[in-house]
Amino acid sequence: MLETSQHNNYTVAKLLIKEANLDVADQFKTEMLQLVDKGNSQIVVSFENVVYVDSSFLGALVSVLKYAMSKGGDIAVAQLNKDISNLFSLIRMNKVFKVYNTVPDVFA
């Protein structure tokens, strides 16, 4: 469900799904943990194709962040639609994850 590409100092993991929900949360977590284990510790997750996010997926995202941080890395999110962006602000996920409007030049 992820399409990955290398940028300057980080990896972009683009979600290829529309609905980021309970059906795909476990698989997302597994694929992300594998990416981190392969040495991709700085990852920007692109939500360009995603129309909504549910709490299960959010839980998986937080779980991945904790794992990445334990390996000295970090997870950011990019290209959230307006509803998802509202949700991130409302529950302060924007303090947990760096949020980029577009895929950034440098992960900083």
Binding site: E19, N21, L22, D23, S56, M69, S70, K82, L90, K95
Partner: protein, 193 residues
């Protein structure tokens, strides 16, 4: 003339029920159907943020049905009144429970009268504390306390369960009722407009 008009508008009450097969595959189409219905009554862009909150509340109510209700039907009623939108999820499945809950007070429905007014701690981390207040033997209301925190590091305690927290945060009132006589579970979200 104006008085008459006001009187009419203060009596606004529109209600529609949507059935859900508790199948995540149809969640998105049902979500769009319900949001389209709400938008008929709140078409203006000034309601955009409120509609966004309704959307997220619906996503969580539907997800909750798929994950926890242990039955294959639920219904979502949308009730529109002058200044508020109510989203009510009903099912006849498993009553509200907390996994691995061993804390006090004990949860079994109907709740014992002696616990009315007590708070059940549901989740907490360095960002917030979610608890349910026992309002009567059949009803708990969810309340969120938030702590000031601006960033996270390796030592930050972060929970991974956000469903009830999101529902509490997007709504102006959020409670659960267990109707034991009809074996019905009711999650009730109110969003003020």
């Amino acid at each position: 003339m104006f008085l008459h008009k006001n009187k009419l508008s203060s009596a606004t009450h529109i209600e529609r029920e949507f059935l859900f097969s508790n199948d995540s595959k149809v969640m998105y189409s049902l979500l769009n159907e319900i949001i389209s219905f709400i938008k008929i009554h709140f078409p203006s862009e000034i309601y955009e943020d409120k509609i966004s909150n309704c959307k997220q509340a619906l996503i969580e109510l539907l997800t909750n049905a798929v994950k926890h209700s242990n039955t294959n039907t639920s219904s979502i009623s949308v009730i529109i009144e002058d200044q508020k939108i109510e989203l009510v999820k009903l099912d006849k499945g498993r009553p509200f429970y907390l996994e691995h809950y061993t804390d006090w007070p004990p949860i079994s429905w109907p709740l014992s009268k002696q616990y009315i007014g007590e708070k059940i701690k549901i989740y907490n981390d360095d960002f917030s504390l979610l608890h349910a207040v026992i309002q009567n033997e059949n009803r708990i209301a969810f309340e969120l306390e938030e702590f000031p925190i601006e960033s996270v590091n390796l030592d930050t305690n972060l929970m991974e369960h956000y469903g009830l927290m999101i529902l509490t945060k997007v709504s102006d009132q959020f409670y659960y009722v267990r109707d034991s006589s009809s074996n019905t579970n009711i999650f009730h979200v109110t969003i003020n407009i």
